[in-house]
């Protein structure tokens, strides 16, 4: 970018600090620009974004004055106080000296030690003898000079100062070493150029305000400060439907496109609709608590005619079927369960269907339940979507035709049909779809034509019913690249905020 453009993009604070970038110290820049630290740091950040400078942080050990040290800086070090006293008296009793200097035992001992070491005094028979001339007394010691020059960076200490540091470190509370993060400013080549120019505080328009717009002279012919339009900003997040519901609405739309009418119904259903009406024998393992959620309450069975026909269908068979050959118990059929599939809604729809409304197509989409532990690949709640076509002329090829179209709309062009097994359909089909990226067949749906043992009790006579269903959860997890099924219900708000929209 041209240098002029960059200059035009400098905001007022950036302009203010540019002349002082050679200052080593941020607080120095604050002082000189009379900006607060936050503003200076932000401006530096912006300048870095504009590639005018590079910021780096270094950890540095800083030697600062300690609690006692601060006091001594005012009053003088203990040895200075003793020396001053001695400069008048020359010779003094130890006890008398301590009393007059008002030093604590430690301070007194330390000051005696310090002066003795410098050979400024001698101790004989409990008395202090001064051993120095006026000049020597007046001269500031290295330690005193060191204290005066604080704070200092440990790295930059001269050998002399290091020596003083060592001595003072042994005494309590005189100095304190702190680790600090120091921000270092290094100008880039561009920065060198810009600082060499005379950057003035210019009358650029910052944020456009209603006040500016109100008076033409406030903006006419003026320059707008250039904004940095590229660098990253803090994100915002909008309100959103839950991603599972977004995808359910999508499936719903596909069914609508194909001319299907929605079926809705309760989650708590009688075993009659979930199992018996679908020709699932009463001793089938799916009807055990191990697999299905039962609720310890009884429901009322539907119309007697249908119940009788279902009983007949199980016991002796209907329409030339042999049936399951056992004694069907209506108490078993009354047991309440959380529905294990949406097919119970299809059964209820068939029972209500009027012949004059044929052919007819229905779909359902919703939650189902199974008594299952929860881990990455299992859960006790899952979605299912299914459709039925009731048409006296329907055949197996039609079933495959609907399946092909349905899964094509779901985004799977290549599908495969295999023989399958469901208690209530014959023939039965397993639907595999080809996963383009993973290059594998995914088992995605089941389908079939309802058995006469199902249709005759519900419809009064056998009319072909094509039925198919699929588990959308697998498509959702695949679309959102979710590895763990639990995430569908986790409601992690951070993740939900970032979740993509279902774009299909």
């Amino acid at each position: 970018m041209k240098i002029e453009r960059i200059i035009d993009s400098l905001n007022p604070n950036e302009r203010k600090i540019i002349p002082y970038l050679s200052e080593k110290n941020i607080s120095e820049i604050c002082k000189k620009t009379s900006l607060d630290k936050v503003s200076v740091l932000r401006a530096l950040e912006y300048l870095q974004n504009k590639k005018i400078l590079n910021l780096s942080t270094k950890k540095k050990k800083i030697i600062e004055i300690g609690v006692n040290g601060a006091l001594y800086r005012k009053k003088g070090l203990p040895e200075r106080r003793l020396l001053n006293l001695l400069s008048n008296k020359r010779i003094l009793n130890l006890g008398e000296a301590q009393k007059q200097t008002r030093l604590s035992n430690d301070e007194f001992k330390a000051s005696i030690g310090a002066l003795k070491k410098k050979a400024l005094i001698e101790i004989k028979n409990g008395k202090i003898f001064l051993n120095a001339n006026k000049e020597e007394i007046a001269k500031k010691s290295l330690e005193e000079l060191f204290i005066d020059s604080l704070p200092l960076e440990q790295e930059s200490l001269t050998p002399e100062k290091l020596y003083s540091l060592k001595i003072l470190q042994k005494r309590r509370g005189i100095i304190e070493i702190k680790e600090k993060k120091i921000i270092e400013i290094k100008l880039t080549e561009l920065g060198e150029k810009i600082t060499s120019l005379d950057i003035k505080e210019q009358d650029l328009i910052e944020q456009i305000t209603p006040a500016i717009l109100k008076k033409e002279q406030l903006w006419k012919g003026k320059k707008f400060r250039r904004y940095d339009v590229i660098s990253s900003l803090p994100g915002i997040y909008g309100g959103k439907r839950h991603f599972v519901n977004q995808s359910m609405d999508y499936a719903r739309r596909i069914w609508m496109d194909l001319g299907f009418k929605e079926m809705a119904g309760d989650f708590v259903q009688s075993s009659f609709w979930v199992f018996d009406a679908l020709f699932t024998p009463q001793d089938h393992p799916v009807r055990e608590m191990q697999d299905t959620f039962f609720i310890d309450k009884k429901s009322v069975l539907p119309d007697k005619k249908i119940v009788k026909a279902v009983k007949q269908s199980h016991e002796k068979g209907v329409g030339n079927s042999k049936g399951w050959n056992y004694s069907w118990d209506d108490e078993e059929a009354k047991k309440l369960v959380l529905r294990t599939h949406t097919t119970c809604l299809s059964a209820q729809t068939l029972a209500k269907l009027k012949q004059e409304n044929l052919p007819a197509k229905f779909f359902a989409i919703g939650k189902n339940f199974r008594n299952e532990t929860v881990d990455w690949s299992h859960g006790f709640e899952f979605h299912q979507s299914e459709g039925i076509v009731i048409d006296k002329d329907a055949n197996f090829r039609h079933l495959l035709g609907y399946l092909k179209q349905f899964f094509k709309k779901m985004g799977f062009d290549k599908i495969r049909f295999r023989p399958g097994y469901f208690a209530y359909t014959e023939p039965s089909v397993e639907v595999d779809v080809w996963h383009k990226e993973k290059k594998v067949w995914l088992e995605l749906g089941g389908a079939g034509m309802f058995r006469p043992e199902v249709t005759i009790p519900l419809l009064g006579k056998h009319i072909p019913v094509l039925a198919w269903g699929m588990g959308p959860d697998r498509i959702i997890t695949d679309y959102y690249e979710i590895k763990d099924l639990r995430e569908l219900y986790k409601n992690d708000l951070t993740k939900l905020r970032k979740m993509k929209f279902w774009i299909k």
């Binding site: 997040y237 519901n245 959620f293 006790f380 048409d391 055949n395 090829r397 014959e426 219900y489």
Partner: protein, 548 residues
């Protein structure tokens, strides 16, 4: 899910090269490959075909499907010899009324074969036998048994034998208490005053079905050549077919099948290979499948599925239990024809699509709320008492109205009564996420009144940090946008989780539909939350009624 495991070498010896083409055939036969290992192939067997739960049974059907050995396979059955007899005592009538039996001779058992037999037996127990409840099978070395055998029931303390894998003699009751298999299946004999046993002419107990065999007379070894098989249970026809599945598998391993006479008062002879015929109509087949086959083609396809066909009738193999109706035969025709060979077609019939109106309204409500920056959540319909009651400050005595599911495998044990507690749970689990947090959920809640469970659609909205004004603004906006005319009234009796004096009752016409207010710090503390929460929950049924 039932599976069979096939040794790859055995497969290639018996059937042919195990390549991609044959794998495709296996899938198209309706026995999907469940797992492939270096040496082994594992296939899934659907529950309607227990006759394929042995490799022998599967191989027989699959070879026919490939067109190699088509039609109904014939087996040589030898008539009962002297003493090949089971006397069924009337004492078993109310306990385990039926048994069917056979003898198979000339088997050469090795370790592999013994394992295979035990597996077939176990698989049939689990599937067809419903974990031995309906059916249980026993296999015994013939040389250790003195025929004829008696099937009778005795008081448990009068039954004494050494069960399999034990060293001491135990009584019938002790077996149920001390033997691991006995403990596992004890519920099947619970409450019975007598237990069934098989006992031979030397008065040795062979087994106590459906629990366990005797260690002395009920264990096959590599020295066993001839075996006695019994299959006991409740449905005589099914027992016969199950016995047929096993003896044909053994015959395919090289054994000779011998019948036995069962004396039930009247005599029955098993294994019974009487062929059952069933009608199949070419017209029905073509109509159901949308094909245009001729009779010759139909015959050929049926033969590929192991049937014999002649003049509109087929012969059902005596080991097939899944043929209840003509449609079962037609499915087999479809499988033989090949699912991949059907040309999919959509019929030209016109129907009008229609969405459930409640779904439309729910979606609209969702759209209104996301317009004011709310994030939709989705929770389980099951919850637990701690979250539903304890954390919401509801006294223990009110927990009785909860709808519990039986024997849940997780700590989600009751149906949710509201969405409020779930929204608070979500907020409490997201204290590290950016604030403000504004969430909503639309979903079913469950209630029970006089033993009747009802389901209703609710909406709940929660905001944190949030106050009364902010949450009321959201409600009023929603109410205007969907023309619901929700009235806000001073609350007479409000849910305990709100702060008194900062809660309003919500009504449509004169019907209470919910409450709105600020959540009490006591409840926030239960959820370990440090941000104020304002919330409302309403029942949507009144809104549905107005809009429908």
């Amino acid at each position: 899910m039932a599976t069979i495991t096939i040794n790859k070498k055995q497969f290639e010896k018996d059937i042919g090269k195990f390549d991609e083409k044959i794998q495709e055939r296996i899938a198209m036969f309706g026995t999907p490959i469940e797992h492939l290992a270096e040496e082994e192939i594992q296939l899934e067997i659907f529950p309607d075909r227990p006759d394929m739960l042995s490799y022998q049974g599967w191989k027989k059907s699959f070879l026919a499907f490939l067109g190699k050995k088509t039609g109904l396979k014939k087996y040589k059955i030898n008539k009962p010899e002297k003493d090949y007899k089971i006397i069924i005592d009337s004492s078993v009538k109310n306990i385990r009324p039926y048994t069917v039996c056979a003898i198979v001779k000339g088997l050469a058992f090795d370790d592999e074969k013994i394992k295979e037999i035990v597996e077939i037996q176990e698989k049939l127990h689990v599937t067809l036998g419903r974990k031995r409840k309906k059916l249980a099978m026993g296999i015994y070395p013939l040389e250790k048994i003195k025929l004829p055998i008696k099937f009778e029931a005795r008081e448990p303390d009068k039954i004494k034998f050494i069960p399999l894998e034990m060293e001491r003699e135990l009584s019938g009751l002790q077996i149920l208490q001390r033997h691991p298999t006995g403990r596992e299946y004890a519920p099947l004999l619970a409450g019975k005053t007598k237990f069934p046993i098989f006992i031979d002419s030397n008065k040795n107990i062979l087994s106590m079905p459906p629990i366990i065999n005797s260690q002395m007379t009920g264990k096959i070894t590599e020295d066993t050549k001839d075996i006695f098989i019994e299959c006991s249970g409740f449905d005589l026809e099914m027992l016969k077919k199950c016995l047929n599945m096993v003896v044909t598998a053994l015959a395919d391993m090289g054994g000779q099948i011998y019948q036995m006479t069962l004396v039930y008062g009247k005599k029955i002879i098993t294994p019974d290979f009487k062929i059952e015929k069933m009608k199949i109509s070419l017209e029905n087949t073509n109509k159901l499948l949308g094909l245009n086959l001729n009779e010759k083609q139909l015959k050929k396809l049926l033969e590929k599925m192991g049937y014999n066909y002649s003049k509109g009738f087929i012969e059902i193999p005596p080991w097939r239990i899944d043929i209840l109706h003509e449609v079962d035969l037609i499915e087999d025709v479809a499988i033989a024809y090949g699912y991949e060979n059907f040309v999919p077609e959509i019929p030209k019939i016109s129907t009008i699509g229609e969405e459930d109106l409640k779904e439309v309204i729910k979606r609209k409500i969702g759209e209104v709320l996301i317009g004011v920056n709310l994030l939709e959540c989705s929770s389980y319909h099951l919850t637990n008492k701690k979250n539903q009651f304890t954390n919401m400050g509801i006294p223990k005595k009110l927990e009785k109205d909860s709808i519990e599911v039986e024997k849940s495998k997780t700590d989600y044990t009751i149906l949710r009564k509201d969405l409020t507690h779930y929204l608070l749970k979500i907020l409490s689990e997201n204290v590290d996420s950016e604030y403000p947090q504004k969430i909503f959920e639309i979903g079913k809640i469950f209630s029970i009144k006089e033993e009747k469970i009802s389901e209703m659609e609710n909406l709940a909205v929660a905001i944190t940090p949030g106050n009364f004004t902010e949450i009321r603004q959201i409600l009023e906006y929603l109410s205007k946008m969907v023309n619901a005319e929700i009235k806000i009234e001073e609350s007479e009796e409000s849910p305990a989780h709100f702060i008194e004096g900062r809660v309003a009752e919500l009504k449509i016409a004169d019907k209470k539909i919910g409450s709105l207010g600020e959540i009490h710090p006591r409840i926030l503390k239960n959820w370990k939350m440090k941000m104020p929460v304002a919330l409302f929950e309403i029942n949507l049924e009144e809104i549905f009624k107005r809009l429908e």
